[in-house]
């Protein structure tokens, strides 16, 4: 067999390997319930859950529990299917966390608590101005 064929085969095998490993390592967007089932079945892979913070009738964020030393905090979040879940984050509360419209938590269940390794926030952006006021 010619050597170039061998190189070609190795190359294709490596490329396929990369694609398969990507599929294996890729995370996914799931609901809290699916995440819970995954954790129960011993799948401790980190997943993404999209949701919102809970609010009371006057629009104040509810269910926010910073630790006394401010170095970590717990909060209550409702996913897109409506399930409410407590989430722990072992980092100080990000600035403007309470203002975020949408929260993406990346992490997994530890027993009944969802532990986030990373939090992404979508804040209402004043950046894309949609109107102009006379005072400006």
């Amino acid at each position: 067999m010619k050597r170039s064929y061998i190189i070609g085969i190795v190359l294709i095998a490596a490329a396929i390997g990369i694609i398969i490993s990507t599929a294996g390592d890729a995370s996914s967007y799931v609901s809290f319930e699916d995440a819970y089932v995954m954790a129960k079945n011993g799948d401790s892979k980190s997943i993404h859950v999209v949701g919102e913070l809970t609010h009371d009738s006057s629009g104040e964020v509810t269910g926010l529990y910073p630790s006394p030393d401010k170095l970590s905090f717990r909060f209550v979040m409702q996913d897109e299917k409506g399930k409410v879940q407590e989430v722990f984050y072992n980092e100080p509360m990000p600035a403007d966390f309470t203002r975020s419209e949408k929260v993406v938590v990346i992490g997994s269940y530890h027993d009944d608590l969802f532990v986030a390794d990373k939090i992404l926030m979508k804040c209402p952006s004043k950046y894309q101005e949609t109107t102009v006021n006379a005072e400006m």
């Binding site: 990507t22 996914s28 030393d69 170095l71 970590s72 722990f88 203002r99 101005e129 102009v132 006379a134």
Partner: protein
């Protein structure tokens, strides 16, 4: 008043540049297709003229847009949304790349400049290469065309010259069509940084130059000059890789200095989108070099040059079409150009592939396979490794695209990027880096065509032995324990030593040829620097209390952050630290001033000095001087004391930045030869949020009589009747009295100046805060009969800051390696360009 002329002029230039680019493409196409020299020549002349017109109109667009920004014509949407009156002139050019239209413009500008250089330096290649150039320019120009095709309601491009009233349907324009806002909304403060003035143009120059090797390659296929295109393309490919590499690393350095993710590289999709084409371009260069020396690998050179340009188009699509969405923090928002971008991508990809397929059979190949003991074989393997290295990053970066494609066919794409991107990419890229480093060391010892095994062994023995000795020493001293890192270190050291040996040999014989060896030494050093600074980055602000996260869970977490209260010393790993308070930075003065020493005014960016402010011994601001500051920035003074008693101060920053979603932290770095100490705040009192104050405590005191607020000794130093008061219109009937109260803190004295006001018979009180101590003092009443006054005091939680500190060992090797890399590229460009010139002067090209 609405300045319509300048916008119309700019828009006219856009249209001219688009049409002239189309016409130039047509002329150059004609010139390349017609065999008869005299006719072809006149077409070339036409094309050249059209391209000059194009270049001038591109310059016209740039000048018009800059004129609008410079003169604060806020009736234009671009100026309004990207600039403001307070923006210093040197940051005005940064406005060009905050917006998507402006960055297309920058790209057009570089292409126009490069096109002129190509016209000036080429004879034979001018027409076919410029055909590709002009066609690309037409596509790019269409992105900022901003023309609506009537009847179809199809908008082509997004113009930077659109008026605010046309861009935004605000109610004010219905009543006042000529309304012009007083000020713009400003440039993102994150971009007001000198790296952000030079990084984007450099990166875009790198982007722009990738078209040149591609254009030569297409021209070569088209004109059946299958082998000759490599000579002129090679110096440009090297130049492109060098500039793109510098641009990427400038971005990394900016991120290291300005962003708080703790490093210089985050594997963000936008970063990956330039990293992948760069790897392919470097691979392409290697195959081109292999071809020049051994007439092998021509087909791979063609494929790789095309691929790297297609990847540039693909990354443009990724970052600008909005497809990345939530996957990236800094991609542009969608301007409705995704369709156009997709056509741009597909057009050039299709042309290149079709042309290559049609001509494939005609491309000469060497009859014999390269020998296993030849340099070309190992260069080829190296190029393949680089491609796989890029491919591994490309696949996960494209996950949002896969989701879109699945949705297009009616499925549900719920793939998310890997949860921990840094860990995920590092575990693959590390091994690719090892392979590439080893090959770049070994490859240099093979000769072109063939080497016998004995010579090879003799040559490699010394570098191998040296590598083992040096690496063992580094492993011992640097405490490298992880097997993967040891292997990476060995590979890096081997590259440096092996190429060092080659370099010494070349210096004696032919220094012009040393580009490759120098570049590879740079790569080796960079790898060692990355291994140490990323692999052995150490959190020094460890909080070892270990807390339970919930009763059910037994997992223990150590926090990597420290809570510091003001003036309360705390110990972390190798340092004692003390948080000393919030600081402001005056514009034009390279110093920090305490927030307690200034009083706010009605204008956010102006404050007045409450006391004399010194820099060292020099008096900078006297009492009541007005100081201009950047109000969005607060700095936190942290004093470090090492175990040896050495003291230094760092000022990490928090910036109120609405565009980036609120409060943004930037680090401050203590630089050392062997390691950097990197510090940023993780959480601070939100300066835009209301504070919670305790109930007011009242004191009735006389002048210079001590009283105790929150355990601090305070006394009223004097009262002053004010003639004017900022923000209040005082008449002769009104009374305004300001008290000057001294509070003795742990470290220093503070001045608080509350105001008591009677206006129109009504009492008003303006409290004043001692920020450091968390005290708010109010002058409640003045009692002339007993010659004393009532002071009210509220307290809040003391100032605090949550801090994270990291140590980055040997990061300087990364920056040093970068410099050496660039020098190596420079040497190589010089060599390849003089080869091209020699041939051109002989009239061969």
């Amino acid at each position: 008043m609405v300045h319509e002329f300048i916008g119309d002029l700019g828009h006219f230039c856009v249209v001219v540049s688009f049409i002239s680019a189309l016409y130039a493409a047509f002329c150059f196409f004609k010139a390349s297709s017609i065999g008869e020299i005299s006719i072809a020549d006149s077409w070339t002349k036409n094309g050249r003229m059209a391209f000059y017109v194009h270049a001038i109109s591109v310059l016209g667009i740039v000048v018009s847009l800059f004129f609008i920004i410079y003169n604060h014509y806020f009736e234009y949407h671009y100026a309004w949304s990207h600039s403001s009156r307070r923006l210093p002139a040197h940051y005005m050019i940064s406005c060009f790349w905050e917006g998507q239209e402006g960055s297309f413009l920058l790209w057009l500008f570089w292409h126009a400049l490069l096109g002129i250089i190509i016209i000036a330096t080429n004879k034979f290649w001018e027409a076919p290469v410029m055909t590709v150039f002009s066609a690309v320019q037409a596509f790019l120009g269409s992105m900022i065309l901003g023309v609506v095709i009537p009847g179809l309601e199809l908008k082509i491009g997004s113009s930077p010259f659109i008026l605010l009233r046309d861009a935004i349907a605000a109610p004010i324009f219905a009543s006042q069509p000529d309304f012009v806002p007083q000020d713009g909304t400003g440039l993102n403060p994150l971009l007001q940084n000198y790296w952000m003035v030079i990084h984007p143009p450099t990166l875009f120059l790198g982007f722009a130059t990738t078209i040149i090797p591609f254009a030569y390659c297409i021209a070569g296929l088209w004109k059946r000059k299958y082998t000759e295109w490599i000579r002129p393309a090679l110096p440009w490919a090297l130049f492109s890789a060098a500039i793109l590499g510098i641009g990427i690393l400038m971005g990394a350095y900016w991120a290291y200095e300005t962003l708080n993710f703790g490093g210089y590289w985050n594997w963000d999709p936008v970063e990956n989108a330039v990293y992948v084409p760069w790897l392919f371009l470097v691979a392409a260069i290697h195959t081109m070099v292999a071809y020049k020396n051994s007439t092998t690998a021509l087909k791979s050179a063609i494929v790789l040059v095309i691929t790297s340009f297609v990847l540039i188009l693909y990354s443009t699509f990724l970052t600008r079409s909005g497809v990345l969405g939530n996957a990236s923090v800094h991609s542009f928002t969608d301007l409705g150009l995704s369709g156009q971008l997709l056509i741009y991508l597909i057009f050039f990809t299709a042309i290149a592939i079709v042309l290559a397929v049609v001509r494939w059979k005609e491309i000469p190949t060497s009859k014999k396979e390269a020998d296993t003991y030849s340099r070309e074989f190992w260069i080829f393997i190296g190029a393949l490794s680089l491609c796989l290295m890029g491919f591994q990053v490309l696949i996960p970066t494209s996950i949002p695209v896969f989701n879109k494609v699945i949705e297009l066919f009616g499925g549900i794409g719920n793939f998310a990027p890997p949860a921990n991107q840094i860990e995920y990419y590092s575990k693959f890229q590390l091994w690719f880096a090892v392979v590439v480093a080893l090959l770049s060391g070994v490859g240099q010892f093979f000769w072109w065509k063939k080497i016998d095994l004995k010579t090879l062994k003799d040559n490699l023995t010394v570098p191998l032995v040296l590598t083992l000795i040096v690496s063992s020493a580094i492993i011992l001293f640097g405490d490298v324990a992880d097997p993967a890192y040891i292997i990476l270190l060995l590979a890096g050291v081997f590259t440096v030593i092996a190429n060092g040996k080659i370099l010494i040999g070349l210096f004696k014989s032919s220094p012009k040829l040393s580009g490759g060896a120098i570049t590879h030494i740079g790569i080796g050093l960079m790898l060692i620097g990355i291994m140490f600074s990323a692999g052995y980055s150490k959190v020094v602000s460890l909080n070892n209390t270990g807390m339970l996260i919930s009763k059910e869970s037994s997992a223990e977490f150590n926090s990597e952050n420290l809570l510091l209260f003001i003036n309360e010393p705390k110990t972390m790993l190798d340092y004692d630290l003390k948080y000393k308070g919030e600081r402001l930075e005056p514009v034009n003065e390279n110093m920090f001033i305490s927030k307690n020493d200034v009083a706010k005014t009605a204008v956010a960016h102006l404050v007045t000095a409450k006391t004399q402010i010194f820099k060292g011994d020099e008096l900078i601001f006297d009492v009541n001087d007005t100081i201009e500051i950047a109000p969005e920035n607060t700095f936190y003074e942290i004093e470090y004391t090492t175990k040896d008693g050495e003291t230094f101060t760092l000022y990490p920053r928090a910036q109120v930045n609405e565009a980036m979603g609120g409060l943004l932290a930037s680090p401050d770095i203590k630089r050392g030869l062997s390691s950097d100490l990197y510090t940023h705040v993780s959480s601070v009192r939100n300066p835009t949020e209301e504070q919670e104050w305790s109930e007011m405590e009242e004191f009735r005191v006389g002048i210079e009589e001590n009283f105790f607020v929150n355990d601090y000794v305070a006394s009223v130093e004097g009262l002053q009747r004010l003639e004017t008061l900022d923000g209040v219109d005082l008449t002769s009937e009104d009374v305004a009295i300001r008290a000057r109260i001294k509070v003795q803190g742990e470290e220093r004295d503070y001045i608080s100046e509350p105001v008591f006001l009677i206006k129109d018979g009504l009492v008003g009180r303006i409290s004043d805060e001692v920020d450091d101590l968390g005290l708010k003092l109010t002058l409640l009443n003045v009692h002339p009969e007993t010659n004393n006054f009532s002071i009210g005091a509220n307290t809040r939680q003391k100032n605090w800051v949550v801090l994270k500190a990291l140590e980055k060992p040997y990061i300087n090797l990364l920056w040093l390696g970068t410099f050496i890399l660039v020098i190596g590229f420079g040497v190589a460009i010089n060599r390849r360009y003089s080869e091209f010139q020699k041939m051109k002067n002989k009239g061969l090209e």
